[in-house]
C-alpha cells in the first residue's frame, strides 16, 4: 500500500509545491471528507484541537505527495491511513509528555473535554476512555470496524495489515475493552 511521505514536508526539505490541479483536488477532497476525518481522529484522541491538527497534516501530506500517488483515485484511503498514523503519533507524544510532566492531570482534563459535551453520556465517556487505553492496533480496528463500518478487507487496507490480523485484533480488542470496563478502570 502506498504510504504518505510526510518526511518530505519537514522544514528544511521544502520542495516546490504541487500545481493547481493537486490543490484543487485536495481542496475538494477536504471539503467532502474533512469532517468525517476529524470525527475519526476525535474518537481516537478525544481532543478536537489535536484531531484537527492531525487531519490538516494528513491532507497537507496528501497535497505534497499528490504527484507520487500510484492511484489518486485512492486518495481517500491514503488520507484515512495518514489520519490513523497521525493519531498514533499524537498519542505517543502525549504519553511522553505526560510522563515527564507532573501536571499530566491538567492535559488529560483537556482531553476529556470533547466528551464533556451534553451529547455524550457518562457511559459512553467510560467506553471512549477505555478505547484509548487499548493498544494502537486494537483501537484502530474498533474504529474501522464499528464506527466506520468498514469490512475486514477495507480495514486491512486502511491499517496495512492482513485480513486475518484484523479479525484477531478486533476480537482481542473487544475482550480487552470489556475487561477494562468491568474493572472500572476508566
Amino acid at each position: 500500500m502506498d504510504t504518505l511521505d510526510t518526511d518530505s514536508c519537514s522544514p528544511g526539505r521544502h520542495r516546490r509545491p504541487p500545481g493547481g490541479d493537486a490543490a484543487r483536488a485536495v481542496t475538494a477532497l477536504y471539503g467532502a471528507h474533512a469532517v468525517a476525518m476529524i470525527r475519526i481522529a476525535l474518537i481516537v484522541l478525544g481532543d478536537r484541537a489535536a484531531a484537527e491538527d492531525v487531519v490538516q497534516d494528513a491532507f497537507f501530506g496528501l497535497y505534497r505527495r499528490w504527484g507520487k500517488l500510484a492511484d489518486p483515485a485512492n486518495a481517500l484511503t491514503y488520507v484515512r491511513s495518514a489520519v490513523l498514523n497521525g493519531c498514533r503519533d499524537a498519542l505517543k507524544g502525549r504519553v511522553r509528555r505526560d510522563r515527564r510532566d507532573r501536571a499530566a492531570a491538567q492535559s488529560w482534563q483537556a482531553v476529556d473535554s470533547a466528551e464533556a459535551s451534553a451529547l455524550v453520556s457518562e457511559d459512553h465517556r467510560r467506553i471512549l476512555a477505555a478505547i484509548r487505553q487499548l493498544p494502537d492496533r486494537q483501537r484502530e480496528a474498533l474504529v474501522c470496524r464499528f464506527y466506520l463500518d468498514l469490512s475486514e478487507e477495507e480495514t486491512a487496507l486502511a491499517m496495512g495489515i492482513s485480513r486475518g490480523t484484523v479479525k484477531s485484533t478486533t476480537s482481542r480488542a473487544v475482550v480487552a475493552l470489556g475487561r477494562l470496563l468491568g474493572e472500572g478502570q476508566c
Binding site: G31, I43, E52, Q56, D89, S117, H124, V175
Partner: protein, 482 residues
Amino acid sequence: MLDNETGLTEETARAMRAVASTVTDAPPLRLAPRPGYRAARPAPRRRWQRWGVPLAAALTIIAVAVALVTARDASPRRVAPPASPALTVDGVPAYYAALVTAGSAQTAPEQIAIGETVTGKRIATVAPPAGTTFTGVTGAADDRTFVVDAQPGSLDAESEPFAPRTWYLLRISPGAADPAQLTRLPIPATAPGTDVAAVALSPDGTELAVGLQPNALNDPGGPVYLRVYSVASGAVLHSWSSVGGGVLADGQLFGGPKYAGPDPNLALAWIGQQGLAFGYRRGVPGKTIDGSQVSSPQVTLAQIRFIALSAKDDGDLVAESKMLASVVPAQARPTPAPLDCGVPALGGIVIAGHGLTPAGPTLLCGATGSYRYPGGTEGRLGCVSQPAFRLGLVEYEAGAKAPSRVLAQYASRCRSPQVLLQPLWSNSAGTVQLGMLGLGTGGSSEEPRLGVFDEGAFRPIPLPTTGAAGTADPEPLDYIAW
C-alpha cells in the same frame, strides 16, 4: 453496564458515534505547513493555537450605518438610492434575504428566500440563473435592495472551489404581484481561482465592496484586495491591496467556515457611506502583540481596521487604514477571562459597527468570558455544575481596549460550539440587534436561537423557514442578510 459481547460492540459503536456527532464543521484547509509542523507529529496545540486559524476565520464584522451621508456620485448610471428608509417591525428590518438549499439533493443549488423577519414566513423565492447557484447576499439599508452573487454548479463539497462569481441586483417589493426582481449587474465576474472573502453593499445600495484574493488556490499567501465597485456601471471606484500576507475579512456563520461558499458578508462592513471596517489577520513572528508578552514564536494578529473611501487609491490596505480594535490572543488573557472580544470564543468572534466619530465607529462584539472557581474552568469544554462561562454583547468605543458598555450579559454552565452569542445586525443607534444566542443547558444538544437583543433582553424569533416547500427545515440556514 454491558451484558455480552454483542451489546458491548453495539454500545461501543454508539459511543463513538456520539462523540463523532459533536464535530459538525472543519476549519479551512491550509495547503501550507502550519507552524510547528514536522514529520514526527507535534504536540497537540493548546486551545488558543487551535483557535488561531478559526479565529481568523471567525473574525466577522457587521456594520450598520448611522448617518447616511450623501453618496459619492462616481458612477455614470447611478442606481436610484432607496426612496425611503427601511421599514421596521419591532425595531428590526421587516424582511430578510436568506440563502437556502433548493432541495434535498447534495448538488441542489442555493436559492434566495425572502421573508418576514419577525415571523420567519417566506414571501418569495428567487431561483438562481440556470446552471448556477447563489453564493452570497448582502443588503442595503432600505431593506429592499440586495446584491447577490452566483457561481456555476452548486455549493456541495465537490463543487469547484473559488469558481467565478457573477453579480445580480435583487429588489424586493413585498405585496406586489412580482415581489422580487433579479437583474444582472455589470460588475465583472471574478477570475477562476479567486476567493471572494467578503461582500458588502453600501447603505444606499449604489456601491459594492468586495474582499478578494486572486489565485487563492495556488498562492494562499498571496495579495488580498479590497475593492469598491459601482453597482450601476461595474467600474472599480476604489481599490486597496495588502501584499504582505494576511487574510482579509473571512468569516464563519452558523455552520462554521464555508470553504467554497457561501460568500460571507459579515467580515466587511460599511460605516455610513464614508468607509469600510474589515477584519484582518496575519501570523506575526515575534513575542509581542499589542504590548502583551506571549511565549509563542508565531501569533495570530487579528484586528478590525477602518479605511476611509478618501484613502489613497491603489494604496496599501494596511498602511492606509487604521486599527479600530485588536482581538486579544488567548495566551495574553488573564484568568478568569474578562468579558471581551478575546479568544477562545466558541461560536466565533463577531463584531458589529455603528456610529462614526472622528476616532472611528463604535463596535459591537459577541464576547466571551469566564468565572474562576476552585479547580478552574477556563479553557474547558463541557458543562459544570455552576455558571462558569459568560456571554455578552459588548460595545467598544473607537480605540478602546476594553468594553465601554455591556449591552447584554448571560451566564452558562456549558461551553460548546452551541454556546455562543453572535450578533448579525444592529440598528443605527446600537440599541437593538438581531443575532444568535445559545446558552446550552447540559441536558440536550440545544441549538442557538435567532432573536432580538433589545435593551439587554433577548427575544427569540422563529428561524426563517427553509426548504423548497417553505416548511421548516432542520438544516440551518446557509446565510441570512438584512
